[in-house]
């Protein structure tokens, strides 16, 4: 990990309140693993006070570029949306434990809900390099939440979509698509990132089918490096509260409670 000031290279508006930010740091992209995150502190102001964590959306190890896909939800992301090329921000990373990438010449199912899609692109790109077949299932509230799905086209064999309002893909929750996909595709591993209820359902289905499953958690953090001990989740097999920043953000599904 390193603490660096980086200049914004590019910012693209994907949809209403959704952006992809391009930053450049050859040293970060060189070591970054799919599922890891960075924190961003925009300026020296005290409100917002703390840096915010963002998963790494994709890296280009040749150019040193890496992408952050984010949605405007709070003070920091609102200010981030105003960033322009050349603006300087402070980045700490890469942080945390990424996805397990042992799978080779096999089949992986990736399930994203809302902005939970963000780390799955990097994951899909890494899995593809290991000659895996990848199926995606992405759910969102409406079609606005599915405006970035083209980024998965190169790495994935099939992309299944669901929206709660039925404006794109199947109407309903993405988890409703899963029994059929699992039957047809027979994945050897499942990865998921998104709202807790969605991940809890994925965990349940994966357990039923005895498929290993990894979940990527998100929570409030202060330091991002395991010092403040603030970003806990609940373990299923230990008295200790795991820290999302260092023990995660990626966990094996059976290791953590997902009931909020």
């Amino acid at each position: 990990m390193e603490l660096v000031n980086l200049r914004v290279k590019k910012q693209i508006k994907i949809a209403e309140d959704q952006f992809v930010l391009t930053l450049n740091s050859p040293s970060i992209t060189k070591v970054a693993q799919a599922g890891q995150f960075i924190t961003i502190k925009l300026n020296k102001n005290y409100d917002p006070l703390l840096p915010r964590p963002f998963s790494i959306h994709s890296v280009d190890r040749e150019t040193g570029d890496f992408l952050i896909y984010y949605q405007v939800v709070g003070k920091t992301s609102k200010l981030m949306a105003e960033l322009e090329p050349g603006d300087e921000i402070t980045v700490l990373g890469p942080l945390g434990k990424g996805f397990n990438l042992e799978l080779e010449n096999s089949r992986a199912l990736l399930i994203g809900g809302g902005l939970g899609q963000a780390p799955l692109r990097f994951l899909a790109e890494e899995l593809q390099k290991k000659n895996n077949q990848i199926y995606m299932a992405i759910g969102a509230r409406d079609q606005e939440g599915l405006k970035n799905i083209l980024c998965f086209e190169e790495s994935c064999q099939e992309i299944n979509l669901a929206t709660q309002d039925g404006s794109l893909g199947k109407e309903g929750l993405v988890t409703e698509l899963l029994p059929q996909i699992i039957r047809d595709f027979n994945p050897k591993i499942i990865y998921t990132c998104g709202p807790l209820p969605m991940m809890a359902k994925v965990k349940e289905l994966a357990a039923q089918e005895k498929i290993p499953c990894q979940v990527s958690l998100e929570t409030t953090m202060a330091c991002g490096i395991g010092v403040c001990l603030g970003c806990t989740c609940e373990s299923t097999n230990s008295e200790i509260y795991p820290k999302v920043c260092t023990h995660g953000p990626v966990f094996w599904a059976q290791e953590v409670k997902l009931d909020g």
């Binding site: 502190k41 005290y46 403040c228 970003c231």
Partner: protein, 307 residues
């Protein structure tokens, strides 16, 4: 213009400079040593240590407010034995003096912690936490009564030859009363302030945000309260005062020194600017140089001392 002498002496605890990192905001220094030149710090104050390992509080532990941070970590730590065995060998090689912050449920706990840590190479002083707002037993209970605070201090004082600092709670009617009581009981210094008791409520769930309901409030928002406490205490006690509470910049640090602090601790600022302690160190050096101050100790309490 010669070099400014930044060294300070807290009753035998000699520090190369007065910039310390506060307990609970720096772990044992190992994580930040990967991105910060921690060897330049005056000292590192460890995460609060207890006799037994503590798993900390359940539920949500941190919440940001405008210019502030609420936490209810609940003294999660590996316990003193694991600290000595698994961490101290690396920690003592980081460079700065290591001050062990200790916390107990009973006076006996504090005595045992002081004895256990007192004979460890690499521990330069103890900071006795009698002000943690996030644990049920002990913690702040010792820090809100002058008699109890004095008892703990006296017991620790007798149990170790190390310099003993006592960390005071701001959640009292008159902090100078507690400060005088621990001075009388043999403390070598007082550090203040610990966090202010606070809370937040989620208007969607209509429940408290923190799992522990209340938590300790820190960050830039508390600085004026902390500065006032240092100002008051420094004028009452003869022992050195270590000031903290929202210090984020060298200007903040200079204010605390002018208010009477011999040294300062940087806490929450580490989270939003890991370079803050070193920026503060450089800044106070420049400040002294520009004003022709040759020793940082000449600045202590200048805001109230008659000149």
């Amino acid at each position: 213009m010669g070099k400014v002498n930044l060294a300070v002496d807290i009753q035998g605890l000699r520090l190369d400079n007065p910039v310390l990192t506060a307990s609970g905001t720096y772990g044992f220094g190992l994580e930040y040593s990967q991105i910060v030149e921690v060897c330049k710090l005056g000292a590192i104050v460890t995460k609060g240590l207890t006799l037994e390992p503590r798993k900390g509080n359940p539920g949500k532990r941190i919440f940001e407010t405008p210019a502030g941070l609420l936490n209810s970590i609940g003294l999660e730590n590996p316990g003193v034995e694991s600290f000595i065995k698994d961490y101290l060998p690396q920690v003592k090689d980081l460079g700065p003096k290591i001050i062990a912050n200790i916390s107990g449920n009973t006076i006996e706990d504090y005595i045992e912690l002081a004895e256990r840590l007192g004979n460890q190479a690499g521990i330069a002083a103890l900071e006795v936490n009698i002000s943690c707002p996030n644990v049920k037993a002990g913690g702040m209970a010792f820090g809100i009564s002058p008699q109890m605070a004095a008892q703990v201090t006296k017991a620790v004082r007798k149990s170790t030859t190390l310099p003993v600092l006592v960390k005071l709670s701001p959640n009292v009617t008159d902090i100078t009363e507690i400060a005088l009581a621990v001075e009388e009981a043999g403390a070598d210094g007082v550090s203040l302030i610990n966090t202010l008791l606070g809370m937040a409520i989620d208007i969607n769930s209509q429940k408290p945000v923190l799992g522990n309901i209340v938590g300790g409030f820190s960050g830039p928002a508390v600085k004026p309260v902390a500065l006032r406490a240092v100002w008051q205490v420094a004028q009452k006690v003869k022992i050195p005062v270590i000031g903290m509470g929202g210090i984020s910049t060298w200007q903040d640090a200079v204010e605390f020194i002018l208010a009477g602090a011999t040294a300062i601790e940087v806490g929450t600022a580490n989270f939003y600017n890991p370079q803050a302690p070193l920026e503060i160190l450089a800044g106070i050096g420049n400040y002294c140089q520009e004003r022709g101050v040759t020793a940082i100790t000449d600045l202590i309490g200048l805001a109230w001392k008659e000149r």
